[in-house]
């Protein structure tokens, strides 16, 4: 009996916490306006498939400090833009046995507008591919060049450049049809409690967003800002690298960047942010 009374007291405390301001827009007055011109929505209606687990969906931008948020509002201050600039040079660079550049087939990089918004995407062979897979396929099959490493500098440069062409366009990944089975697996992974700390993505980003884990303000774990310039890494961080970091922090054995598992998780996580505009290249802590 005594124990039950204590349990109820704890439940009451938890209830009080849940009804606090933890689950609210962290910066209700903040508006993401880049260069004083480009308005990017950081709040959206949650997609139907979430079944009401989030009242509204929020960009990770809203969970960061004033200083970090400001860095993303000016392209000159945004260190990620240097990667995209280098990407422009790489876009024009002829390579491989075919001596071809990206531009030789695709023309101006603006032709890539909308690509980032639908990644990852099922290819013509029924495989789920991330943007990196499509880029490497071009390199090895069309250019006769070496594939780039998932987290390599050239890959960061070119994915940053391509993502930038979709800035402001809502995330629009396809989750039905051929994508459905991948999406289901990604969903299952999202709710799996990995590692010795037994933590799932949902533990932090669905059940506790808005709360503090030490100095970190937990976001909803949206991926619309990726690739993101992470101040802590002083570099562009691809989404799979962030996934790896999260699983590492569960004292778990990670999957490899670019693995089938991470591409499925990428699809599911992207779909939680359906409707939020692509920010890539965002700036985070």
């Amino acid at each position: 009996m005594k124990t039950m009374t204590k349990l109820w007291a704890t439940v009451a405390i938890c209830g009080a916490m849940l009804s606090s301001t933890a689950f609210a827009d962290p910066h209700p007055d903040a508006e993401l306006i880049i260069e004083g011109e480009l308005h990017i929505a950081t709040r959206a209606e949650p997609p139907e498939h979430l079944g009401g687990v989030l009242p509204e969906i929020y960009s990770g931008w809203l969970f960061r400090t004033d200083e970090t948020r400001e860095l993303q509002m000016d392209d000159f201050d945004n260190p990620g833009m240097l990667f995209a600039e280098r990407g422009e040079d790489r876009w024009e660079l002829a390579e491989g046995t075919a001596n071809q550049s990206c531009a030789d087939c695709h023309g101006d990089v603006e032709s890539m507008a909308g690509v980032r918004a639908v990644m990852p995407k099922v290819n013509e062979n029924g495989e789920l591919w991330s943007m990196q897979n499509y880029i490497n396929n071009c390199r090895t099959e069309r250019m006769g060049a070496d594939a780039w490493g998932w987290n390599s500098e050239p890959m960061k440069d070119v994915t940053s450049l391509i993502s930038l062409q979709s800035r402001g366009m809502p995330v629009a990944v396809k989750i039905d049809g051929e994508a459905a089975e991948f999406w289901e697996k990604g969903r299952e992974m999202y709710y799996t409690r990995f590692g010795q700390l037994e933590l799932s993505c949902a533990n932090c980003h669905e059940d506790n967003w808005g709360r503090m884990i030490r100095a970190d303000h937990l976001s909803q774990g949206m991926s619309n800002g990726f690739p993101t310039y992470r101040l802590k890494n002083a570099s562009i961080v691809p989404l799979h690298q962030r996934f790896r970091g999260c699983i590492r922090d569960t004292r778990g054995e990670s999957f490899a960047e670019g693995s089938q598992e991470f591409r499925e998780l990428e699809l599911y996580v992207s779909s939680r942010g359906l409707g939020l505009p692509v920010e890539g290249i965002s700036v985070r802590q």
Binding site: T3, A9, G195, R214
Partner: protein
């Protein structure tokens, strides 16, 4: 009784007698009371609340403040608010209950986000890793998150938190 079994019996007795000082209770041998409490010390050595405070606050040990606020430690910035405040834990719970919660909070709160701090069985986890390396665990070195003595120290510290 043969000479051999006699010496075995003596050795067993010595272990029991010595247990108060030396024998550690392994995670698999914990005796639970009411499913959630552990009446017996895990290390056989009384907990040290001063050492316990270090384990509670240290990021490389218990890192309890990552998720729990604790008014008694104003010197530590960035206290989390994922779990309930530690304030008054010594008044709300008995020592045996606190030992149960620190060792395995999922016994009393099955859906809890709180890690199990005293379990050395990798089979109980999904893709357990080698500490924070993102690599697969090493069966030779996989261990509890806190030692038996660290659990005892943390419990002793929590027992001092009676104000709330």
């Amino acid at each position: 009784m043969t000479r051999r079994s006699l010496s075995a019996a003596c050795a067993a007795t010595a272990v029991i007698w010595g247990g108060a000082t030396f024998a550690e209770i392994s995670p698999a041998d914990i005796v639970w009371e009411d499913e959630i409490a552990i009446p017996a010390s895990l290390s056989g050595t009384p907990g040290d609340p001063v050492a316990g405070a270090v384990t509670v606050s240290s990021r490389s040990a218990g890192n309890c403040l990552s998720c729990h606020q604790n008014t008694a430690m104003p010197e530590h910035d960035f206290q989390g608010n994922i779990g309930p405040s530690l304030d008054g834990s010594g008044a709300r719970w008995s020592e045996a209950e606190l030992r149960g919660i620190v060792a395995n909070a999922k016994r009393v709160f099955p859906e809890s986000m709180m890690p199990v701090f005293y379990n050395d069985n990798p089979e109980d986890y999904i893709r357990p890793g080698e500490a924070y390396t993102a690599r697969a665990y090493n069966p030779e070195t996989f261990s509890t998150l806190l030692t038996a003595q660290q659990v005892e120290d943390v419990v002793a510290y929590l027992m001092t938190l009676t104000d709330w």
